[in-house]
Amino acid sequence: MFQLAKYNLRSFRLSNITTTYVRFSTSNYNSLSESELKSIPIQGVIKQPVNSSIFQPYDVVVVGGGHAGCEAAHAAARMGVRTLLITHKLETIGEMSCNPSFGGIGKGHLMREIDALDGLCARLCDKTGVHYKVLNRSKGRAVWGYRAQIDRKLYKQAMQNEILNTKNLHVMAAAVRDIVIDKEQACITGITLDNHCLIPTQSVIITTGTFLRGCINLGMDEQKPAGRINDQPAIDLAKSIEELGFKMGRLKTGTPARLETKTIDFSKTITHKGDNPPLPFSFLNKHVWIKPDEQLNCHLTMTTSQLADIVRKNAHLSRHVTQDTQGPRYCPSIESKILRFKNQTHPVWLEPEGFDSDLTYPQGLSCTLPIDIQLRMLRTIPSLENVNMVRPGYGVEYDYIDPREVKPSLETKRVTNLFFAGQINGTTGYEEAAAQGIIAGINSACKVLNKPMFTISRGEGYIGVMIDDLTLHGTSEPYRMFTARSEYRLSLRADNADLRLTQSGYDIGCVSEERYNQFQSFKKNYDQAKECLQNLKKPMHVWRHLLTSPPELNPSRDETIKSLYSLVHQAPYMMDNEKWLALVPDDQNVRSMLLSDNELCERLCLDAVYEHLTKRQKNEIDEVKRDESFIIPDSFDYQILQISNEAKQRLEEVRPTTLGSASRIPGITPATIFSLLRALKRQSQTPIFNV
């Protein structure tokens, strides 16, 4: 049972006022007809109010304009609810505050899923990238990692352009002081700004990233409160959140120095060119915005033993290292890499920051050492002997909320209609943040619209894997996505994200008609072509005769009947696309369709490769989904179950939201699950399912 303890007097008073205000305003809403409401267009920037009495209530307020905030606000607006995005500074909306890249292995999968739900980041990366590269090409399509170096400035512009021109979305530059809560109902009623103005709203999404009591470390002496260098942290908000009783923890991350590009001797590095052709992130695009040969290069160099010496000698000057008693398992900085691993050299990627930027980002060199030592360290690296350091690297420490405080919908368990998304939930990376943003955005709107919660199961997407991991197990280090985390890796591929998610996204209302139409026409062709290939069956020796080149004239008889579909991925029969495509009947234009649509053809072959194992996984995924359909009510009392005290304690700790998630808690036995199921069914005068 949660507590809403120790309210300070001001917000208590405010919450009383707000309750009445919101009641008034909701009745206002009801008196307005649908068309009247729609006729009040909201879009673009709105000024911070001077006093609250004149202010229109919003349906959803998003606090924070980073990657989670932008996706959340845009998703809520797409769902058709009145949305307000509040950020400290308008010009930092969509800022890429660390690495100048998007995507990667696992992260690229998240982006494709965000795109399948009609989110922003994939689409924007297709028009702002400077170097596109798919990682893992040699390791199988299921783990291809879409990745690109992005022009920071262009990305930010594109994002601001998008956010400021979205229907139903207002943007305001202001500092949020507090959230306002109806104490009785434990329900959000509004927020207050730092000038004590009140903005009433039905739900709030907090996406403040590292800004909650953020603190920058640079050497031992310099430590100052800030979320990002030169930006103010949000201290009051952190306090309010803590006062509500949310369990919080502290994490750290870091960013490397920025280098002046013209002082780098690239001749001493290995040059990596972008892909030709560069593959777009978004399902909507067939091409990216630049020509293959216009792409910028990345460069690889390695650290030397000299650098290791410098780090070792000065380790006592690094705050991250000195504090690192029980640090995360991964290495947040070059210091921890050197101190924890024997190997003396580590890769450093020199990544371009953009077309008209004269900065280079040295990936792999996150560092919190004092400035002078950082420079000495940098100059030991081949190609950086004369480098000019424009900005030093620094570490950031920040508060995060134990993600077990949120439900799979990202709504908090303590306060109704309050959502957390992004780094605040203990994740790291733009993509992880954006993915949470879109889910929180959709669900906050669902709450307003009285729709069921939109959740993605582990079997449906990496987004589901991430949120399930976080909400069930919490995290003690910044959570990053990689493919090893998914048990259904072969089914959750970047290429089929649309087939997995777009339909349900459309059903809930976050996918535009335009995308849906494109998806449907693709799916129609896809289904038709697949069915056609599956129905094309011949004995194996006939196939061998038809498909091998040069044709096997007298293949030994093999009467096993196989479909062309089951062969499309099998060498040596399928080396030559032209050859097997010629065997496809064209009575329903399937052949010409496959010939003209290379992507369709490729995706079919890909499905066929993984078919025999994904079929096996589908059963399991369905079983998971079935168990996920049993919702455990928020107020469920585990004490009534006749199970061991240990099991009760575990369930009480996590408070799983579905039978499925309960069964994934380590140590929970089938008998416990059965008791739970029985109790749920007994209580099920109320519906216990999820769509």
Partner: protein, 487 residues
């Protein structure tokens, strides 16, 4: 009103999914099979597949739901007869689980059950049921009401407890160590493969990491395969060694049985074809439990009853661990090459049912040696013993040889290698080995790496059902410990 609507939808939702769930099977009569009848229950959308395949029928119309049929069931790969049994099926939703359910009422023999299990687990989308899974499905499909469900929790608890007792963590000694070692090796191999997939390109994981993985997996694969090829030693030790006495009519098989059981278990007469059915007897031989069966004399005959007896003799022989072949010594010419004559005699016997009993250990008895005169010149290889049941010649020698052979079957030369004693373990280990084989095959042929690694994942999952589940966190611990991964 709205709730009713939702409730309806919910059921729709569930039934839509249950049609694609895997088909599960288990012994419905408990794991200790030493009973007259054992029931194997199969539930799921593909359940009737097993009914058709095992009975070699093509049309399901042959079996009306809810009616018992007496049928023979065959191994679909080797075409060997497994058992004659009663079968019945229930059409979903009017069944225990609400899905299609098939039941095989087989003879209560561990051997038959284990053959059935290995066949069923080879069917696509079939798997062994988890504790309480039938009941859970029944419950989810609305086939059990709350009062009925009360008792089920106890049942599941009992089943879970039983499996827990059988599981590794309750096991003492070398078997636990062995499995645990495999588990650690495979977890490490998987973690390294996963690291290679997720971090090779941007964090520079060395290229030769996979070579190490392949070597390690190969070793584990070899070890588990070896462990599985133990000729069921552990189970024999637990359940008893099964011995069939085979031979031409009137060779003295029943006399031998009576000597072994030390009582007139079988009727003995000089008339060929006295024994018609399989006569089974359980004895204790040198401390080892032995189930010994006397069978009908093998010959081609027009008598339908005797002919059936001959078939049964072969069927039983196929399920045994050891064969005692009894040959009437007086039918052999002691001056000619004896070994050749014996080989000829055996192949004549076995061609009657074109059966291949080659893989089984055989002990050859030359009975009625008292009727042979040229004793002095006889030289026999080690597994041929001349005896006389009537005159009690060489019986002690035969018994000690038999005890020795059984002891060999039950123990390994090295006592540090433990045996596999549990059928459930065998199924999961077999799956582990199969997936490891696929992994090695795919990776050595440079096929899709993720596809290969998926088999490694499946292998670990099968092993994990014995040794405890491998959670992703455990893999990540290895990845972050062995590789430098960071910002």
């Amino acid at each position: 009103m709205i709730f009713n609507q939702l409730w309806k939808n919910k059921n729709l939702f569930i039934s839509r999914h249950s049609s694609t769930l895997s088909t599960i099977f288990a012994l419905a009569t408990g794991y200790q099979v030493r009973s007259g009848v054992a029931i194997i229950r199969i539930s799921g959308s593909l359940a009737t597949q097993s009914l058709l395949t095992l009975t070699r029928e093509t049309k399901l119309e042959k079996f009306q739901p809810k009616k018992l049929y007496l049928t023979k069931i065959y191994d679909n790969k080797t075409n060997d007869l497994i058992d004659q049994c009663m079968t019945v099926w229930f059409k979903g939703p009017k069944s225990f689980t609400g899905e299609d359910v098939v039941e095989f009422h087989i003879h209560g023999s561990k051997a038959i059950a284990s053959v059935m299990f290995s066949i069923l687990s080879s069917f696509p989308n079939y798997r062994l049921a988890e504790a309480g899974e039938f009941s859970k499905r029944a419950y989810l499909n609305g086939r059990l009401d709350l009062t009925e469900a009360e008792g089920l929790i106890d049942l599941i608890n009992a089943q879970t407890e039983q499996q827990r007792k059988q599981s590794l963590y309750q096991m003492q000694g070398s078997l636990k160590d062995l499995y645990e070692r495999w588990r650690i090796d495979l977890v490490k191999s998987l973690a390294h493969s996963e690291a290679y997939i997720d971090f090779h390109e941007d964090q520079h994981i060395e290229n030769d990491i996979l070579t190490g993985v392949i070597q390690k997996v190969q070793i584990t694969y070899d070890n588990i395969s070896l462990h599985l090829q133990d000729h069921r030693r552990g189970e024999i030790l637990r359940d008893g060694c099964r011995i069939a006495i085979l031979g031409a009519p009137n060779a003295g098989k029943s006399s031998l049985l009576n000597i072994l059981t030390q009582k007139p278990t079988a009727i003995v007469s000089s008339i060929a074809g006295t024994t018609r059915d399989v006569i089974e007897s359980t004895i204790d031989l040198g401390g080892y439990p032995v189930i010994i069966c006397d069978t009908a004399g093998l010959r081609i005959t027009n008598d339908p009853i005797e002919s059936e007896g001959v078939s049964r003799a072969f069927d039983r022989a196929n399920l045994c661990d050891l064969l005692i072949i009894v040959i009437d010594a007086s039918t052999l010419n002691m001056n000619e090459n004896l070994n050749e004559q014996i080989d000829q005699h055996l192949s004549n016997l076995f061609t009657i049912k074109s059966s291949s009993l080659n893989s089984l250990t055989k002990l050859i008895i030359l009975n009625k040696i008292d009727l042979v005169n040229e004793k002095s010149q006889m030289k026999f290889s080690d597994n041929i013993i001349p005896i006389s049941c009537i005159s009690n010649i060489n019986i002690q020698k035969f018994l000690s040889k038999l005890t020795q052979t059984i002891a060999d079957k039950c123990t390994e030369p090295s006592f540090t290698t433990p045996y596999l004693t549990n059928e459930r373990h065998r199924i999961y280990l077999t799956q582990t080995v199969e997936d490891l084989k696929m992994f090695l095959l795919l990776i050595n042929n440079n096929r899709d790496l993720v596809l290969a690694v998926e088999h490694l994942r499946l292998a670990i999952r099968s092993l994990g059902t014995i040794t405890g589940v491998v959670y992703t966190e455990e893999l990540l611990d290895v990845i972050f410990r062995d590789f430098c991964i960071g910002k």
